[in-house]
């Protein structure tokens, strides 16, 4: 119990509300993420998980609420202050977001080029080391167009960890990958957490992947948190919507067909 208290909370999300135009996407989200844990944010399509991730990254401005990254609120920060904070974390986007006009090496070295004064030789060594971590040694001179989907994601991961960040964000790491590559990527995430003591936040809708890597899981549905807990706690949760998600049941399976048709045609 005493030991638990000493674990610092690196991300605190408080009363977060977010809108796209007039549509509410996030509804009163409260969440804390502890140092060194893998937190998986899970939910179906349109549940608001990507919006939550983008808001935590400072890419979206919330309507209400606060987000603290490493004990500093990012809401209302100036752009240079936000950029400074962002240098301490790495992000791997769903499609990789690699720069197509740059080689793998140039992509990975970009943060080093921008934020450090290291010489080219040192940067080359660091690049090779990170490529080794993601099992892509020898690929540094290829262009992104020459890589497969799984390789793109691993290069994006190498770029995300080149500055040895304290926080690592993943948006749908398994999306579009076959089960073998997806499992490899999951292994890599766990390896990173163990080897580098990183705090990792993963947004995904892949159940198997989530259960493989998560220390804790937050389940989102329609912009609200249904449950936050360990894998077992989530699996044993009695909330119907959580069970629908875990058992891949459609949301409206008990809807009366006539009623549904009337609602669609607007005759209700």
């Amino acid at each position: 119990m005493e030991k638990k208290k000493t674990i610092s909370e690196v991300i605190k999300v408080r009363d977060l509300v977010s809108h796209y135009g007039e549509r509410q996407i996030l509804n009163d989200i409260n969440l804390t993420i502890k140092q060194g844990e893998v937190m998986v944010i899970m939910g179906g399509s349109g549940s608001g998980k990507t919006t939550l991730l983008r808001t935590m990254l400072g890419l979206n401005t919330p309507t209400n609420g606060d987000i603290e990254l490493m004990n500093k609120s990012i809401i209302g920060l100036s752009t240079p202050e936000l950029y400074k904070i962002r240098q301490q974390f790495g992000v791997s986007f769903q499609g990789g977001a690699l720069f197509s006009s740059m080689s793998v090496r140039e992509n990975i070295q970009l943060p080093l080029n921008e934020h450090t004064r290291l010489d080219q030789k040192t940067m080359d060594i660091m690049c090779r080391l990170k490529l080794e971590v993601v099992n892509l040694s020898g690929f540094e001179n290829l262009m992104p167009a020459e890589l497969s989907g799984g390789m793109l994601k691993r290069v994006a991961l190498a770029r995300a960890i080149i500055m040895d960040p304290k926080l690592l964000f993943f948006d749908e790491p398994s999306a579009g990958l076959d089960p073998v590559v997806s499992a490899e990527l999951d292994e890599l995430i766990v390896k990173l957490k163990n080897a580098m003591n990183m705090t990792i936040i993963v947004v995904t809708h892949e159940l198997e992947s989530a259960f493989r890597i998560a220390d804790r899981i937050t389940v989102l549905d329609q912009g609200s948190v249904l449950i936050t807990g360990t894998v077992d706690e989530v699996k044993n949760c009695e909330n119907e919507r959580v069970q629908n998600l875990l058992n891949r049941r459609p949301r409206n399976e008990n809807v009366d067909a006539d009623e549904y048709l009337k609602r669609l045609t607007g005759s209700m």
Partner: protein, 263 residues
Amino acid sequence: MIKESVTRFGRKGVDFIETTGMMGVFLFNCFYHVFRPPHKIFSIIKQIHFIGARSTIVIVFTGLFTGMVLALQGYHNLKDFGSTDLLGSAVGLGLIQELGPVLTALMVIGRAGSAMCAEIGIMRHSEQIDALECMGIDPYRFLMVPKFIAAIISLPILTFIFDIAGILGGYLVGVVLMGVSEGSYFQGMYNSVDWADVQLGFVKSLIFAILIVWIATFKGYFLHILKSGGHGAEGVSRVTTDTVVLSSVMILASDYLVGTIML
């Protein structure tokens, strides 16, 4: 009915004001970083190669044919008044004051402006701009500034090349084909074109350079927010078309404005 029309009109007005404000803030951000070294020299050189060097052939041919047409039209008009000696003056002034900067800018819009907009639009769509921001890299400094500096350097040089090619084209038609004397062609030009005309052409090319990059990068950067934009390939193609149309109109409008102020 009337209420709906007024509402729609009002909404368009608000959208216009909002977009204009966003464009102003965008330009301010770009120039704030333009005047804050250090700059990325390699990126600037790369952009000069893209905007400038790779447009040279198009500019040379456009300039050459423009000069040839000017000389042909000018010769037939001046011949009726027995003033073919003024051909050099007409070609020189027309090219240096007006056609050189305007047609160079229009060519650069078609060749580089549309490409810049599409490039940045695709970067926005594929989350590359988000990735830059998440790496703590300012997209204005990283993407826009090299393009602005490169265009500001390239456009006056391209305009100069256009003018030279046009004068040569005029020489080919006027002197070689129509038989106007070489001396009167160049002397007429020398007598009528003064330093103020060259300055006017230079100032115009600078303004056009800023306009082209401003509109192209703004449209691409805010692809996801702009009413004319949207997502995906269709959104990119729409903002690219918009860029070409809006930049061309703005070039012609500002050409008139600058001419009115400086002449």
